[in-house]
């Protein structure tokens, strides 16, 4: 499959809108704070509305890239400016554009210092993230991938909590450490294949041996694994989440972590099908450890934000398990679960931010009985908590169920124990995570929201404001929509996922 030599106008426009917003904000005097905020709302909202046009393509019937195009960028090196969207990336692109205005609105009163720079970085970050999901040239992908680091680094480092510098530098260096390996892998592949265009490289016989392919797989995999993060590479995550401002946490959980899982689907699986199968059991084991470990460690936290941060380790374990089940159900479930995690965990961080703004603490011991004081907020929090817990009727369940269903019968996990397939054992262990999630989330809910009000300062808390409700409502709508009527969300990715799976070599069947 080769890409047409046309300019990807529509997607370029989409990428450019936040950049224009960035420029407008930069050129605005810093005293015009309201204008800056409204500019940020306007441009992120326009990006979202424009991105909805992406839904018009017939993803159901074809796995090809839509709105795609590639023009030479550095022709001598085979590097192109190539963009495109397909069933694998569509929902992540839309998730990114949806979260754009949401995080801007959520920052309205939370950020009071250096307002101009803050919103400038926020809108710029959106372009970087969209670029990651749209790029079809490996080099371009790498540029966007690195580009996301810069605004995020500033968001944590300037507007973060008390240990913000430490957290931001750690975040930066860890991602960097991984991406250098990825860069080497990308350069090797690009030079070997004579092109950096991903669709051209997929399925191309590069004449490299099995071993080389496995090393290249690892080059990509480590970069992505740190980003996801796959256990045990999660050490940077609690720092980054706890210190980041609310908007930073929402973006981090909602989009940046998905760049890692997306990388696996976009690069590792199609570029190195044999290596994917080779590493699938190992990745699945790490994923399962992450699911249980994350749930257990979350349970013991006293800081709400840290609890939610560790819950991501658990949730993304499910995503990795689904991806490396390497079958249609598992991968579709995993992609949907990426979106679900963005919605649910994004909403959790938003709501934790709301209460932090009121009380300036995230220590659960400082709360209790909040339901009486903030009934609407609490009811919504319950819904989001249940969604994160995987309650049927809400989005999280659909993703988890589909992933586990796929993993249960996966041929990718090879081994057998006492006649029971490894897939069954790993899925059973992962399903224990469902119990773990209920334990840590309900414990959190009880500590913060139930019981009588014991801390005097909590008695006068104001319930959720209209602005906060506006920022939350789109997420809630999707939480219900995906939970009750998920098939439209799956239909879009079916063709692309099928193409992905069919390209894998037939897997060995154990006797």
């Amino acid at each position: 499959m080769s890409m047409e030599t046309v300019f990807p106008t529509f997607l370029t426009v989409l990428l450019a809108i936040p950049v224009v917003g960035f420029l407008v904000i930069i050129l605005t005097p810093r005293t015009q704070e309201n204008f800056i905020k409204w500019t940020a709302v306007f441009f992120t909202l326009v990006t979202f509305v424009v991105s909805l046009a992406l839904l018009s393509a017939p993803y159901q019937s074809s796995s090809e890239l839509f709105f795609a195009g590639a023009i030479p960028w550095i022709p001598t090196a085979g590097i192109s400016y190539a963009l495109g969207v397909d069933g694998l990336s569509l929902w992540l692109v839309l998730l990114t554009t949806l979260l754009g205005p949401i995080v801007v609105i959520s920052s309205w009163t939370a950020v009071e210092e250096r307002v101009k720079e803050y919103y400038a970085f926020l809108v710029l970050l959106e372009t970087a993230m969209l670029g990651v999901f749209l790029a079809q040239d490996m080099f371009l992908f790498y540029v966007f991938w690195e580009f996301t680091l810069v605004p995020m680094y500033f968001l944590i480092g300037i507007w973060g909590g008390s240990n913000r510098q430490y957290a931001s530098i750690k975040f930066f260096l860890y991602t960097k450490a991984g991406s250098i390996l990825m860069l080497l892998a990308i350069l090797f592949l690009g030079i070997k294949g004579g092109t950096f265009l991903l669709p051209d490289l997929i399925g191309m016989d590069l004449g490299i041996g099995t071993n080389a392919a496995r090393w290249l797989f690892l080059g990509f995999a480590i970069a992505f694994a740190i980003k996801v993060p796959i256990w045990p590479l999660h050490s940077w995550l609690p720092d980054a989440h706890v210190e980041a401002p609310t908007a930073g946490s929402v973006i981090l959980a909602g989009v940046l972590l998905k760049m890692g899982t997306y990388g696996f689907v976009r690069f590792n699986i199609p570029l190195f099908p044999e290596a994917s199968q080779f590493f699938a059991p190992a990745i699945a084991v790490l994923a399962v450890i992450g699911i249980i470990y994350g749930a257990w460690v979350s349970f013991a936290q006293t800081d709400v934000k840290k609890l939610v941060a560790y819950s991501s380790v658990s949730h993304l374990g499910f995503v990795m398990l689904g991806l490396f089940a390497l079958n249609e159900i598992g991968i579709q479930g995993a992609i949907l679960q990426m979106v679900n995690h963005g919605l649910s965990t994004g909403a959790l961080f938003l709501m934790v931010g709301m209460i932090y703004e009121r009380r300036h603490t995230r220590d659960m011991a400082q709360f209790g009985g909040i339901w009486q004081v903030m009934p609407v907020y609490s009811a919504l929090m319950l819904i989001v908590t249940l969604s994160s817990m995987g309650l049927p009727g809400l989005n999280g369940f659909v993703g988890e169920f589909t992933i586990l269903m796929g993993a249960f019968n996966s041929s990718a996990f090879g081994f057998q124990l006492a006649g029971i397939p490894g897939s069954v054992l790993l899925t059973a262990l992962s399903t224990l995570g469902v119990i773990g999630a209920a334990i840590y989330l309900l414990t959190m809910f009880q500590k913060v929201f139930l019981g009588p009000v014991t801390v005097e300062a909590n008695r006068s808390l104001k319930d959720i404001s209209a602005r906060e409700l506006v920022s939350l409502l789109p997420l809630l709508v999707l939480i219900f929509w995906i939970g009750i009527f998920p098939s439209p969300f799956f239909n879009v990715m079916t063709a692309s996922v099928q193409a992905l799976v069919h390209a894998l070599p037939a897997m060995a069947v154990l006797p």
């Binding site: 790498y142 050490s235 013991a300």
Partner: protein
């Protein structure tokens, strides 16, 4: 008639509409303190759902084979030779109609009962907390509308559970009723009353709710694994397909059987197709004879699973055992029953509806629905029967030694659910469902009666404070003081002689107790007898265990009746107790009538057996029971004997002192052992809960934070990274990494303000350096590769 069937989605939609109405407008509908609009709306909605259930009954009378009504497609993912197709399709058949009737019928009565109960409840709380009139109104608006929102939500969820045509929709309902149970057990999460142990009552209620949810999640673990196995074995989750393919796979290969389709979309000739799945009675009887022989075969058909294959019998056994784990959660069986007694922390209408009559019977329904699978796995079926019988006996022994009026009923419920589970395990599906229905009547009656008694006690304690409302709160307070010290209104030792104070409640309660004890000719006699007869024929051990449990049942109910209703009032609260309002007593009378006449639905004589024949249309391996005068006489003799014994111990010389020891306390440690519920909670705490906490804390603090985060990452890796980076490109990265190290150093060494200030100022410089570094590395590498 298809026209009538097509109304079925409304039975779920209408309750959910009620949820939305009360959730969004409930408070607005309550302008004054006496407003009861949310309760009335919710009750009308429950009544409408009941009406739909009755319409389904009529429709089924002429089309007993039932039908399926598609509503939504949830999932449709192709994968290899399977398609994960999960519709939300309604299944109307005779089994689901029985469940619908019980759920909506008893549900409606409990909604009506709750109108008065929850209204009074807020008044009592407001009075106890000394709230002003405005605050009382606010509390009532919130609580009252919230309660009925949840109650309608429960009704809709329960109906999803029983009307789904596939395992996933059943699971969806299964989880949603669990959520409602959680919300309603913890309904009084805000109670600021400090317990003797220093814990707020509200926290205790919330903890009970959490316990219920988590115990059920353990069961869900089993349900989910069962669902995965079912799908990958039978290629579908729809009951019709699963069971037809399961039957097929006994003889044919998996691949061949996967082509069979009895349900699913589109349904062209709905009126004929069910013939495939619903075997006529003759065939069912034939199948039953195989069961009675006790040697249902071992099926070795290879089933592909993941990269391997397993024999059919192994898989079906696993499926049915995992389903059983789910049932032990929802239906409170050993080992997961511990949540149900705690669930009594919820308001009494909730205990009656959810934790006695409907939700907890979901496990019985699920096993009955899966009868084809259990019939294929005799090991699992036996296991189910033993679990049920053991639960029936253990819970009954605990009930004997409880003092809380609701706790007795809670353990009684667990015990009775054990009877039902044992019945379905033995293949007595009709007996199980029959007992499910009659138990719903008399246990709902008993719980509502207990609620009436509790409020009667509260009235006795607080006097008629409600008359004083609207004047001033002070007055109410005085009323409180001049009455009596607070006693636990649920403790039976504080009661006595309540029959005189609350005759309607008392007499209906006694009817319920006799029905539960299995006294001829009340409903419980017929249904329990049918279970005992099945056990008598199938398994002597289980028959003996269940008979022992039945003796205990009659005994503890007698104990309760005498402690509560007879003798002399032992406290002033009981002395001044008064009868409940008509909205509460009317449902009691209706349920009492049903408890008397309920047996008529399935008399074990030729020409009757209505429920049996009815269920045979949808339960393939159902067998219509018979009547055995020996079994009936034995069980009646045992029950009457136990009642006499109960009278001897508790009725002949009733206690007059609330602090007196229980007559059974002479049994010493045995009584304590039973009173402390076999120390199961303590055991679980030591074996599961405490280790879970300890390991969690260890993982989080020691492993993850001190070792992995602080030591490995912040010391070892950070240092190594710094060294490596310096070597790689000294001039560029120095600033960055030094910054990192400084940052860490300043964190670790307690912050030097100087360093910190400098850093804040230069943070942008660092970042710019980093960016420059990235670009430089990239350019360097690209150029080098391009040249080579």
């Amino acid at each position: 008639m298809q026209g009538l069937f097509s109304l079925i989605p409304l039975i779920v939609i209408i309750p959910f509409a009620g949820v939305l109405i009360n959730a969004f407008f409930g408070r607005l509908l309550m302008p004054a303190q006496s407003s009861k609009a949310p309760g009335v709306i919710a009750s009308i909605i429950a009544g409408t759902a009941f009406a739909i259930a009755v319409l389904m009954l009529f429709a089924l009378m002429s089309h007993p084979e039932g039908t399926e009504v598609p509503f939504l497609t949830l999932l449709n993912i192709e994968v290899g030779k399977h398609v994960l197709f999960v519709p939300w399709t309604f299944k109307v058949d005779t089994l689901s109609s029985v469940m619908m009737l019980v759920v909506t019928g008893v549900g409606t009565l409990i909604h009506i009962y709750a109108i008065g109960y929850m209204d009074y409840d807020v008044d009592v709380k407001a009075h106890e907390w000394g709230l002003s009139v405005a605050d009382t109104l606010d509390l009532k608006r919130r609580r009252y509308s919230r309660f009925f929102t949840y109650l309608n939500l429960f009704l809709g969820s329960m109906l999803i559970l029983v009307t789904g045509n596939n395992y996933l929709m059943m699971f969806v309902g299964w989880e949603l009723v669990g959520l409602c149970s959680f919300l309603l057990i913890g309904f009084w999460y805000d109670d600021p009353h400090r317990q003797a142990n220093g814990v707020f009552k509200g926290i205790e209620n919330a903890a009970a709710a959490q316990k219920a949810f988590i115990a059920n999640r353990v069961g869900d673990f089993g349900m989910l694994l069962a669902i995965f196995l079912i799908f990958w074995t039978f290629g579908s989750l729809e009951f019709g397909n699963v069971f037809a393919r399961a039957e097929c796979m006994k003889e044919s290969s998996q691949a061949e059987c996967l082509t069979i389709t009895t349900t699913g979309l589109p349904r062209s000739d709905a009126s004929e197709e069910p013939e495939d799945t619903v075997k006529p009675a003759a065939e069912a009887a034939e199948a039953e004879s195989g069961h009675e022989g006790g040697e249902a075969g071992i099926f070795t058909t290879p089933i592909e699973l993941g990269p391997g294959t397993l024999p059919l019998t192994a898989i079906v056994t696993a499926i049915t055992l995992f389903l059983l784990l789910g049932a032990t959660g929802k239906s409170a069986q050993i080992p997961l029953f511990v949540w149900l007694p705690d669930a009594m922390a919820g308001p009494t209408p909730v205990s009656a509806l959810i934790h006695a009559a409907t939700m907890v019977t979901a496990g019985v329904y699920m096993i009955t629905r899966s009868n084809v699978l259990y019939h294929m796995a005799p090991f699992s079926a036996d296991f189910v029967a033993y679990v049920g019988a053991a639960t029936a006996l253990v819970a009954a022994t605990i009930a004997v030694a409880q003092f809380d009026i609701k706790k007795v009923l809670a353990y009684s419920t667990i015990s009775q659910l054990g009877f039902m589970i044992a019945a379905v395990g033995l293949g007595g599906y009709i007996a199980g469902i029959f007992h499910l229905a009659t138990h719903a009547f008399f246990k709902a009656l008993l719980f509502k009666g207990s609620g009436s008694v509790i409020q009667g006690m509260e009235r006795g304690m607080l006097g008629d404070f409600r008359g004083g409302h609207g004047h001033d709160e002070q007055h109410g307070h005085e009323g409180h003081d001049e009455h009596h010290a607070h006693v636990d209104p649920q403790d039976m030792r504080n009661m006595g002689g309540m029959l005189r104070k609350m005759p309607l409640t008392g007499w209906t309660y006694i009817i319920g107790a006799l029905a539960l004890a299995g006294i001829f000719p009340l409903a419980g006699f017929w249904s329990k007898d049918e279970i005992l007869l099945d056990a008598f024929k199938e398994n002597t051990v289980i028959y003996i265990v269940l008979s022992a449990a039945a003796v205990m049942t009659a005994f503890y109910m007698t104990r309760q009746i005498f402690m509560v209703f007879f003798g002399k009032p032992r406290t002033p609260a009981a002395e001044h107790a008064s009868e409940s309002p008509a909205t509460m007593t009317a449902p009691l009378v209706v349920l009492a009538s049903l408890s008397v006449l309920g047996g008529l639905m399935n008399l074990p004589f030729d020409g009757f057996h209505q429920l049996g024949y009815w269920l045979e249309h949808s339960v393939q391996y159902a067998h219509v029971g018979s009547f055995n005068i020996t079994v009936a006489l034995i069980s009646t003799a045992l029950a009457v004997g136990a009642i006499l014994l109960g009278w001897l111990v508790y009725g002949r010389r009733p206690s007059t002192d609330p602090n007196a020891a229980d007559p059974l306390a002479v049994a010493g440690p045995v009584f304590t052992f039973l009173n402390r519920k076999w120390y199961v909670d303590e055991l679980y705490f030591a074996v599961f809960i405490q280790p879970y906490h300890a390991i969690g804390n260890y993982l989080a603090n020691v492993v993850d934070w001190n070792f992995w985060h602080n030591f490995v990452h912040d010391s070892i890796i950070a240092e190594a990274f710094r060294a490596w980076a310096v070597i790689l490109s000294k001039p560029i990265d120095q600033g960055v990494v030094d910054g990192a190290v400084n940052g860490i150093a300043s964190l670790v060494n307690g912050t030097s303000r100087e360093v910190r200030r400098t850093q804040t100022g230069y943070v942008r410089n660092y970042a710019l350096l980093v960016v420059a570094g990235v670009v430089a590395i990239m350019v360097f590498l690209v150029v080098r590769f391009l040249i080579s």
